[in-house]
Symmetry: C2
Subunit: 200 residues, 2 copies
């Protein structure tokens, strides 16, 4: 896992990315204030002091985690939105399924943005800004999909893309939160089915 004295091969991610990945996982499962450098140290196999070499402060790490996630998410979103074989409604449904699969169904993780959003009052401004950017990006994609569907009369006539996207985003976060609380994935599926069928 360590790069010290070794060449980096294709099968070996560099340490910095390992730290980001493990940080992402820890934030999604335990939250910002419930994970420590020691947790990362144990998983990555690097001393806590060495983590500071890559990320001087915990805030720096958190920012890197969110920025990295934004890139990954945008690629993923693009894969869905650019699929010409799907209707806009199908794209939105697929997006929801995809979120469930990468969060609760993957070690009961929460959405990264949501997990950090809840700590907004205790996060330093750079992290808060990064989280806003991440949520903003996902919401913009949703609004675009709804807007597209509206043009082709795929959705209800009087739909408002922006407020509907906002409501959809909120329901995704909230339902994920309650799915984790009750450990019942049907909560997510049922709630999203109701919302999508009524809102769109």
């Amino acid at each position: 896992m360590l790069n010290q004295h070794y060449n980096i091969t294709s099968a070996m991610k560099d340490t910095k990315q390992c730290i980001i990945d493990e940080g992402t996982h820890l934030i999604q499962t335990r939250g910002y204030h419930a994970f420590s450098f020691q947790d990362i140290s144990n998983k990555v196999g690097i001393k806590t002091a060495s983590i500071h070499y890559h990320f001087p402060t915990k805030t720096d790490l958190a920012v890197a985690v969110v920025v990295s996630q934004k890139e990954t998410t945008e690629k993923h979103l693009h894969n869905i939105t650019s699929n010409g074989a799907l209707t806009e409604r199908e794209k939105i449904k697929l997006l929801c399924q995809s979120i469930l699969a990468t969060t609760y169904l993957s070690e009961e993780k929460m959405c990264l943005a949501g997990m950090l959003a809840i700590d907004i009052l205790t996060l330093e401004p750079p992290v808060a800004q990064a989280v806003q950017n991440l949520i903003g990006s996902i919401e913009a994609t949703l609004a675009k999909l709804i807007s597209n569907g509206a043009k082709t009369n795929e959705f209800r006539r009087d739909i408002d893309a922006q407020s509907t996207a906002t409501a959809l985003m909120a329901t995704i976060e909230g339902t994920l939160m309650l799915t984790r609380l009750f450990k019942d994935e049907n909560r997510f599926t049922d709630a999203m089915d109701v919302i999508i069928s009524r809102l769109l």
Copy 2:
């Protein structure tokens, strides 16, 4: 503030309740893992060690906070549901307004249940159970209101009380989370208007 050497008057809540109230406030603003006994000590004017006299562990305090909140909330919910002058739809809207007023509009607080629900993987079972009970209670009230409205044909014909209540609960939590993130109360109002008008 302290009761030591003083009689408890009507204007003076007892220390135990003061600790619970301050704990409630701290959890709603900072979250479980970002508040300490020292924070409570500073606000209540009691030494941290003395808090342990009333609540042996942090878990005990958290449970007391949630149980206390459940009682308060249920009284509040009853005041709304038992108001004969309101339609079921009006009751639900009032309930949403009331939640916004007591959370984001009050020092940017989050819903207590939501704030703890997010930490489900790091909370001890008694706390998790208490949070489930609290959310369950609110959700049951919502389901009852929807069920009542359905009987009087106040809502859409094909409405399902339980799944609609679940979706509504999720949207309330999620929209509150994003309202705090972006510090924009219109997010709550807009999203809830869309949801209520489409779902009910």
